[in-house]
């Protein structure tokens, strides 16, 4: 047996992903296409929000959608039925998207003809928070039935997002969800985050979301 020695490595484990993500951001800057990463738990309303967004903006913005699912094409079919270019990525069992997978998605879209690409990430509040997708803005949805304690359980997700949509506020009267406790918890983690209360079902608050999105795309282009 030889002598044991110590070798310095000093490398970020996710360095490759960070590099690919930065490349995506730069590439989309050149085509003036804003990339938005939408994250949430399963069933909180990602697809409903995307469909609402398309309905409100398809005459004023050119939108594309990248759908990520472990193994189905249901969501991409719903989006494509609205006449919007949609790419389905199957993550093959993985719980999140990384920048290399997103590259495949944007390669399949005609970026020069798009103002906005929305990524519907895999439904999960843990893993997607760890992997930079190359998006310019990170948005998450928390729906009322999930409870106001989620920032305590998944702090990283709340700390990396630019905007939080609290969806299904039409359920508020049926639940003990405490909106002011939620706001305090989220702002304590991330004072820069914007919080909006919406209902994709009734349309309540959707106008605020649409206005924010329009403004961000305009600033970007």
């Amino acid at each position: 047996m030889g002598e044991v020695r110590l070798i310095e490595v000093k490398e970020e484990i996710l360095a490759d992903n960070i590099k690919v993500a930065a490349g995506i951001r730069e590439r989309l800057r050149n085509t003036k296409t804003m990339l938005l990463n939408l994250m949430s738990s399963p069933g909180s309303g990602k697809t409903s929000l995307i469909l609402q967004t398309i309905a409100n903006l398809k005459d004023s913005l050119r939108i594309g959608v990248i759908e990520a699912d472990i193994d189905s094409t249901v969501d991409a079919e719903k989006v494509a039925a609205r006449g919007i270019p949609a790419v389905q990525l199957k993550t093959g069992g993985f719980c999140h998207l990384d920048a290399t997978m997103v590259t495949k998605g944007i390669d399949a879209l005609k970026l020069s003809e798009l103002d906005l690409v929305i990524i519907e990430n895999v439904g999960n509040l843990v893993c997607p928070a760890e992997f930079d997708t190359g998006a310019h803005k990170n948005v998450m949805i928390l729906s009322v039935p999930e409870g106001d304690d989620k920032p305590l359980k998944y702090p990283l997700m709340f700390s990396i997002c630019d905007l939080l949509l609290v969806n299904k506020i039409d359920y508020l009267s049926l639940s003990d969800f405490d909106m002011s406790a939620l706001r305090k918890r989220v702002l304590a983690l991330n004072p820069r985050i914007i919080i909006m209360e919406v209902s994709c079902k009734t349309g309540s608050g959707i106008e605020d979301w649409i206005n924010w999105l329009k403004k961000e795309v305009k600033v970007f282009s």
Binding site: I7, V9, K10, A188
Partner: protein, 116 residues
């Protein structure tokens, strides 16, 4: 839940350094991982044992140092350590303000490795 892709990256980087340094056997790898990460130490080691079979890093032990979550107060700029479970209900120990931003606690870093 995302231990597998993380472990693949660790192995890739370790083998690259092993090759550059003419290593015969990697004995241990020292990692620094932030407490905000949900990685389970046991699973990283299990995946590593599986992925590293037949490589210079087969049998290497992953020694994980958990890095503290540090917050910076938005009002007085004091930095303080936070526990992951209480991070949404924090107050600055200096001035009592609740708003803060994350300084560190998300690390995924390979520091060094013990080799022969």
């Amino acid at each position: 839940m995302h231990e597998l892709p993380i472990t693949e990256e660790i192995l890739k980087i370790v083998l690259k350094h092993a090759q550059i340094n003419n290593v015969r056997q990697v004995m241990a790898i020292h990692l620094q991982i932030g407490k905000l990460s949900d990685l389970e130490d046991e699973w990283i080691q299990r995946y590593f044992d599986y992925l590293s079979k037949g490589t210079l890093a087969e049998g290497a032990k992953l020694k994980i140092q958990r890095m503290p979550i540090m917050m910076q107060c938005s009002a007085c700029s004091a930095s303080y350590e936070a526990e992951a479970a209480k991070i949404g209900d924090l107050a600055c120990p200096q001035c009592g303000q609740k708003e803060s931003s994350l300084l560190s606690g998300r690390e995924y870093y390979i520091k060094d490795m013990e080799v022969q």
